[in-house]
Symmetry: D2
């Protein structure tokens, strides 16, 4: 088992989730390469030191360019704000490093294209961390669709609801709240939350043909964390859109950070000719399934507890009935990434695939701005 030496850029929430995944994966999966937490990078020395110590990173860098240039790094993990993804990825590709980049891929399609070109040219392995694909219940949804259990698909609907920005005195910007700053994030819920929904939708239901969207910014001005100035809010607080998919199905998407009672309710439901599927990450270990081919009087939505050995990834964990959680989706991502290194096939979603999700996001924002249907 050779090492896969990781260089981590960032020390926030996602950097913790990824570090945990790298550290755990070899205890549960049989892999040819074992991730090693080689070096961590961040601007604030004190925070960086605390992070590196906590996770056992051997080395530290405060300049991300130096991290990328290190000889003892095989793969760069980009957990910086969205506005840095492109520049970092271009440098990493140039340095011949594998890249694992947080979602969304980029600030816009233009940047995303550059990134795809860079990794293609450099022939470096690349992945975007759309982790929900690897929650076992979601992976099983994909299996059921591929097996034809649903038949023709009529409807796909998704919503991602949160409630953490309702307070009008919440500031924008800075390390903790860069997601509210349009310069760092590119957009609000569209890139942060709907991007997840779109990634899953495309995986399960194919490509989107056209969209009609609306967005809203409920709190128009917020103080900036760093400058203290009250500034216009540039992000979308909420976004909803209608979509027509290439397979003829109809779809609704919605996301907001103004839905009391929902911390991270990302629900999707698919209605097919024979069966329907629904999932909610608030109970991520369950898959709801309705099969019209069941005996008539006994038809009902089944709540499947996705904890058995015949469920995706679950033979690696505990015993039937025992839940895994959010963090495990990242472990699965690392496992799949490493296993893909032995094959010629890229792990999905790679940059190329994530660019298509970016294109849908861009079409959504454009539709909302123009007030009309937009082709993706």
């Amino acid at each position: 088992m050779s090492d896969l030496r990781i260089g981590m850029i960032g020390y926030g929430f996602m950097a913790r989730a990824h570090s945990n995944a790298y550290r755990k994966v070899a205890n549960f999966f049989d892999l040819k390469r074992k991730p090693v937490l080689q070096a961590a990078c961040g601007r604030d020395k004190k925070q960086l030191r605390a992070f590196a110590k906590k996770w056992g990173y051997a080395a530290m860098e405060t300049d991300w360019r130096k991290l990328i240039e290190r000889d003892d790094i095989d793969a760069v993990d980009i957990c910086a704000p969205n506005n840095l993804h492109c520049e970092m990825a271009l440098a990493a590709a140039k340095a011949g490093k594998m890249i694992l980049c947080e979602k969304p891929l980029a600030m816009d399609v233009k940047e995303g294209k550059k990134m795809v070109d860079a990794v293609t040219k450099a022939k470096v392995r690349n992945m975007v961390w759309y982790n929900y694909r690897r929650v076992p219940a979601v992976t099983m949804a994909k299996q059921l669709i591929d097996e034809g259990k649903l038949g023709r698909i009529f409807h796909f609907r998704a919503k991602f609801l949160q409630d953490w920005t309702i307070a009008s005195d919440l500031p924008q910007g800075g390390t903790a709240l860069w997601r509210l700053d349009v310069k760092a994030a590119g957009s609000g819920v569209t890139g942060d939350l709907l991007a997840h929904c779109i990634d899953t939708a495309r995986w399960l239901n194919g490509e989107v043909d056209q969209v009609s969207a609306m967005t809203e910014t409920f709190i128009k001005k917020r103080k900036h964390t760093l400058t203290g100035k009250v500034q216009k809010v540039g992000i979308d607080d909420a976004c909803a859109f209608l979509a027509r998919f290439k397979n003829g199905s109809l779809s609704t998407f919605e996301s907001t950070r103004y839905a009391r009672g929902h911390k991270a309710q990302y629900v999707f439901e698919i209605n097919g000719e024979h069966a329907s599927i629904a999932w909610d990450p608030h109970d991520l270990h369950r898959l709801e399934f309705f099969d019209h081919r069941d005996e008539g009087k006994l038809r009902g939505w089944r709540s499947i507890h996705i904890t058995d050995g015949d469920h995706p990834y679950m033979d690696k964990w505990w015993v039937p009935g025992l839940q895994i959680g959010y963090e495990h989706s990242f472990v699965h991502g690392v496992a799949d990434f490493i296993q893909s290194l032995e094959t010629r096939k890229s792990v999905q979603p790679d940059f190329k695939d994530a660019l298509r999700t970016q294109a849908v996001c861009e079409a959504v924002l454009k539709s909302a701005k123009k007030g009309k249907w937009v082709k993706v």
Copy 2:
């Protein structure tokens, strides 16, 4: 369609539920005889008049013996407190009237036996209103067991939880609160609530062999509604028991009026070799069903919405998806009673069957008193 002239004794909650059932049944079921609300009987003239007017009873009596003797009555419905069931039923049988008696059958087995003897001797049709058997979801549970869907049964568990007597200043006795007065009710939750559980259990799972029980009276003294005197509380506030059924299955039963958050949570669950069933009257239009013979990875509890035309009784009501409620179980009781008049077969549970439920209740109370296992 000839008339079935009803003489109703009582004007409380149950008298309303039964009157509603008599009035509605012919609008939904095709029957040879149509119930007619002929005469109502109760002690308080003012209340009786209001009740009779509300429901359209043609005549009134304040003496139940006179009601029973009326020539224009075909069937007597006993909705009086438990301590009057026996005497009234004996008189009604003697007068050759059909009898529909509220549950529980009697104060004890001794009384119950007299009642069975009386109706047997008089050859009058008789029924006890254990209405839960006729909630469509419960009727379907019976069908599934009879079809062998469950296979050998290992476990039956039931609980009936309420929370309406927790306040220590609630009085006992009188018209509204006779259920708290041991002289009128005979027992507390055992006869009022567990009797329902036992009736359903026997119907679904066969006869009980032996029980070990405990009871408790949490509030030891209460003021009496009529006398105003603070008196010892004679009823059981809570009762739980273990049971072994003749089919070898193990069982737990519990009932209380001290379970915050439960208004009328009568849940039962049955675990068989192949499948399990669960039901809760708080959502009485749903049956929970788990089938081990489903494809492995797709096994899950199904929540069956019992509102389709192929569900018991449901072809008589609305369209799929639309709920019926509590009152409809009584309508089904009347429909089945009337349909049984055309056959030689008694509708169930009749007095004879209800006597066996009474015997289990008596064994439970005896076991709790003696602190040991008791054979039924």
Copy 3:
């Protein structure tokens, strides 16, 4: 208690639901006027006779004009297909009868306006049967909003999902399937199902400002029940739309008859500044409620069992914990209609109010056709 003599046009599903409501209401509510099933009207004599007998209608008419002209009728109840509402209402208004009309009000806004003018001119009482407003859980949602429990409203979302038209060999038209025939129904799910959602939304959240919609007809051709000919399907099988309300809230609506597993899942959810509310008629006796003002660590969605005496309408029915069902919403409608007769205030929704719902439906269909946002 004087009589309120009803003339019923129709003998289908809705005619049964209304007849049941008229027959029951006086057993549960204290009213000054008591509905009497005076005369029923329908084209098919045999079916009409069966219906009239079942419900005890004293007289029958096969020509609806004759029914309306009868002297012994106080109110006309229109349960005919949508394309007949306008003509019948105009005649009834002219004859000075009160009118209770099934929803949607009319085929389009043009017809609706004529109807409003007619009842205004004739000064006859009028109501449209949007029954979901009177499910106690929905009525309570309205109370909570009016009490300010939610504060500023950010989001309203609704969907009405069914699955009964997926089979491609299901015909269109005729008595049973007129809802699939565009000539009789005017539209598909928009008028049949979304109209309900829009009525409730307007009641709870105020008027709609603009919409962007899409519709789809999945099965393009169906055999006609009466002619046997395979014809183009003119109705919308599915419809989804984005809406902006005048209060600044964002909204999504969706309806389809192609969602496996949903018989009549009409879910709405409202997200306010302080609290959120959700309801699903598949469990119509429950209201889901989340209150951010609860103690932090104890915040959670409450499942309120709307069966207590302090819940709307519930003091009229049974005891806490015991469900009522779908049919009771119509009983409440009749009760409110009769009580309104003693006041100068029209019961809601009347024709005028229902016209605004019609206007939203029309804007939705126009938006879908044109592919752009439409002002209501």
Copy 4:
């Protein structure tokens, strides 16, 4: 941060769960001592080697006595079958090692007492792995009770249902199935599953006064995994008991491995004067809570998603809305154990506390055997 060097006995399911906890704890908690996986011990060399490699144990031993005697071990973790706990613990105490022992403490009270004496005499830190106490929802239940949110407690009920031994051809004994072999396990569901329920019950509701129990062995004979011989099954497949607690509350407990549809459904519910609490590990991140002191019409069971920073342990993990799983309860156990080392107070449950749980188990088995109530 000094090391806490762990010597692990066993390489099965529990050894994995504990090893994972030792490895993760310092990434999430701030601790003075950091667990180090020093040496692992097991009889089968091949399996041991695979286990040690997977988890990074530095050394291996095939004789547990040698492991205990090693100088480089601070604490011994006993994950061997129940019949070895006592002997191992006595040796570890004698060697002055801290002891973390899997539950149940011992085969019986007699053994348990020896173990308590040994650790008391040797003054070594000790803990028993009743991990469910440290699921955040369960810890919060304890907090709520301690805060007086429930008031006087009337009822406690618990059940632990599984379905993995229904097949009659499942053998007993050996490494994987020692839980079915009475010689290795001591008892069936009583020691394996009810012990968990009793531990939690005692923690939340105080000591048990007396019990009345029944047990059953549905499959009477099974082939032994090692010998191949068909032998009598000595364990209890199912056990149910009534209990009276010293605080006057009534209780029912039930456990079985014959309940189709339940993989590990360990549900408990507590009914207090003011509020009720319920929990189910199938959704271990939720706590159900009903508060009678809520505004009347708004009372309902709240489903609290225990993933916020103000919920027990949750500030150490991710962000609100994101679930942790089963394994995290062990991480919390290690964290609490290590934090307790800095204090004079033993972490709970220690051997002494677990002995009381053992005493209840013994009373239960005795009651079932004798068929009468037994004082604990």
